[in-house]
Symmetry: C2
Subunit: 229 residues, 2 copies
């Protein structure tokens, strides 16, 4: 299946790019990034471009101004401060960009239909489910149906990591040869990843759980907080 | 229910704006237009703004460059010529913008969630079903489910005209006092509506079927072609 891969430049989507590229049944024709006004877009998108270049895959960046202009989220440059703590804590809801996956998947569907592709790959995983309604199975099922019904090509959504943990994605990526020093997670978008925001914590935890050395340079690495019960 | 109304500035969506505004159970809080690079955006959006101003409703315009840049459609300034003939002819497929309704509904969902609204109104109708997969009931059902599942507020899609014909929408709008001379249909985007492209034909046919005088100024008004069998 010829696919478009949603590619932020973080661990999960970069792993999905390699996973699709190396797959026998699927082919990654284009990697698609969105410059939607988040604090960390400018840090993560260069890594998305770099992995596409390495693998010989076309990379596209869609710029969206609508979120900065009218959406409420602390993930955006227009929003407040990024909270620190465990990724699954309810305080992390401040970083949710409303219906972001729906918007990215929809634009990807229109682009993929225009390119005569057959599928869209998204790297949503089980750890996202706690706070992101648009990462959960019922959303993915319905959105998949909407995209099938709303396109002539009856495009498919592929979410290969939907029931995997971030640790498992990391283990898969290491087998595929992903260089995780060339991926970006930190929501703060500073020059160096902070080590303390929700997604830095999630990233550090994945390496710790996998028992693998983390090649990332962090500003600070205090003890990891526990996941909420 | 507090709603956002998708508002192109054409007959159907302007009627939907009045229908929602005058409804006892719903309220139109914002009218949302998309400047997505079509040939006729520059003609229709001023009418969208005008009706919002008349009714005291906030009007927003989202600019999207992605379609002009990468989508295939003759509706776009980047595409080829607009075909003439009946709206439901297969040649009109050249004017389909892939997954446009999915994209507009998704962005509307994120914006509505940020504004703490409860619903999104879309004016898709039965005449659209022939060529637009993203106007049909199975798409609307699935997209509605995706938006409910993917938002904290469990936002609803309202499609009050989904099983109505354009003639019936026109009759509804006339009861509501819509001035159709202040709406734009023509896909060509000239200074005067052409009278011959698919959507001009559909517009003229609706007035003819309703037995109502058409206040629109057209460049030409040749006999209307028959609907395909």
């Amino acid at each position: 299946m010829k696919t478009l891969v949603l590619l932020s430049g973080g661990m999960d989507s970069v792993t999905a790019l390699y996973h699709t590229h190396r797959s026998e049944s699927n082919d990654a024709v284009v990697g698609l990034s969105f410059d939607y006004g988040s604090k960390h877009n400018a840090r993560e998108i260069p890594y998305a471009a770099e992995h596409c270049r390495k693998l010989g895959i076309e990379h596209r960046v869609v710029k969206l101004d609508v979120m900065s202009q009218w959406f409420q989220s602390n993930l955006l440059k227009s929003g407040g401060e990024i909270p620190e703590g465990h990724y699954q804590e309810s305080s992390m809801k401040q970083t949710v960009v409303p219906f972001r996956n729906g918007i990215m998947l929809s634009i990807a569907a229109g682009m993929a239909e225009s390119m005569e592709l057959e599928g869209i790959v998204i790297a949503a995983h089980s750890g996202d489910h706690a706070i992101y309604p648009d990462c959960r199975e019922p959303f993915m099922q319905a959105m998949g149906e909407a995209i099938r019904e709303g396109t002539y090509a009856r495009l498919e959504i592929l979410a290969p990591f939907l029931s995997m943990t971030k640790k498992e994605i990391l283990q898969e990526g290491l087998k595929l040869g992903v260089d995780y020093s060339l991926t970006w997670s930190c929501y703060k978008g500073q020059l160096i990843q902070c080590g303390k925001c929700g997604t830095c914590v999630e990233r550090r935890e994945a390496f710790q759980l996998a028992g693998v050395e983390d090649p990332t340079v962090y500003e600070e690495t205090p003890d990891l907080p526990n996941a909420p019960k």
